[in-house]
Symmetry: C7
Subunit: 73 residues, 7 copies
């Protein structure tokens, strides 16, 4: 059972997640790692804008303070 928010992210390691950023862009990729600032590394990351795939940006470090949400299911 998850007790803290980071536990939920921990269970999502190596699964595909959707990140939404403060600038409105979305990134879909495999969650490789994160830290307490919610700095996050995605593998095979895809950038989506208004629901459309814009570009593939491979392994990508995303700074935590730009993240609004991480949908993990």
């Amino acid at each position: 059972m998850e007790l803290r928010p980071l536990d939920a992210l921990n269970e999502a390691r190596n699964k595909r997640v959707l990140l939404e950023l403060k600038n409105g862009k979305q990134y879909i990729g495999k969650l490789k790692s994160f830290d307490i600032h919610i700095n996050t590394v995605l593998e095979d990351a895809e950038e989506h804008v208004d629901g459309e795939l814009k570009r593939k940006i491979g392994t990508t470090f995303i700074r935590g303070d730009t993240i609004i949400l991480i949908s993990i299911e």
Copy 2:
């Protein structure tokens, strides 16, 4: 009796709450967990914009610094 703001969130665990974010979007879901930064995990989260259901995003981690309020009743 609740003495601190986080006590009120604690009593809302496993209940449906409404989160309003700084970008104007609202999320309704079951409150699974939160931490002192107000990082929050909702289960069965729904995104609402201008009162309309936009999408269902399942279990979702929401970064605390994007949150304006959590209505817990």
Copy 3:
């Protein structure tokens, strides 16, 4: 006599206060609790926009960093 700003909030516990947020919205409700970040819980909270009651949102946690002011009289 109040010496620190939080003393003034402490005296306002269980009284109706008016919160004004950075997004221009106002919330009126009974001040139940607050912490050093000015995270605040209002009971029977009402949202007001441009002086008009918009909705009632019950017990509500408001994140401190979105607050501009709390009028306590």
Copy 4:
């Protein structure tokens, strides 16, 4: 002689000061208290917009991070 910025605020206790906030509004009132975050309590606070008195909001807690300046003379 004042050595640190907070000393200047300390000398202004119980005097009328003018606060200017990041949203462009000004508040004039008697400075009752402040802390290291510049959280401030004004008594008999008046809100001024574009030089005009808009409303009287009594004893008011103002969150420090919304403040641009405090004119203390």
Copy 5:
């Protein structure tokens, strides 16, 4: 010889400096004090907008996080 940025401010004590804020306004006055957050007190402060003197605001506390730069010569 100055080694750290605050040393340069220290040498400017009691001299007239120009502060530029994030909202585009400029303040000219005698630098009385500052702290590590760059909270600053100016004496005989003048507000300038687009190069024009707008008003004189006497002794003024300016919150450090609103400051872009301080020209000290």
Copy 6:
């Protein structure tokens, strides 16, 4: 195997990376160093706006809090 986000940046040292900033600009260069704030130094940095090379700015220090993402592959 990388366990933390900074491990991924560490593996990218001396490789060309793409940084995207909050102002929408992109910088491509060789990653020389970074710290826990994600302050970053690029060598032979190029500024790109809307996919076009705008200017070459040599060795460049980029403040971490302006960074959205670092694509490292």
Copy 7:
């Protein structure tokens, strides 16, 4: 060999650097000092907007949190 981002700034002491700020303005001057917040002092600083010299502002303290980048070559 530089290992940390601040090492690169350290090597640039007493050399002319270009700072770019979040408001889009650029400052060129001799880097006299900086600290861990990237608060910076430039000597003989020049303000440039859209590539044009706007004014000379002498010795200038620039608050670190307004800086996007420092081009040091």
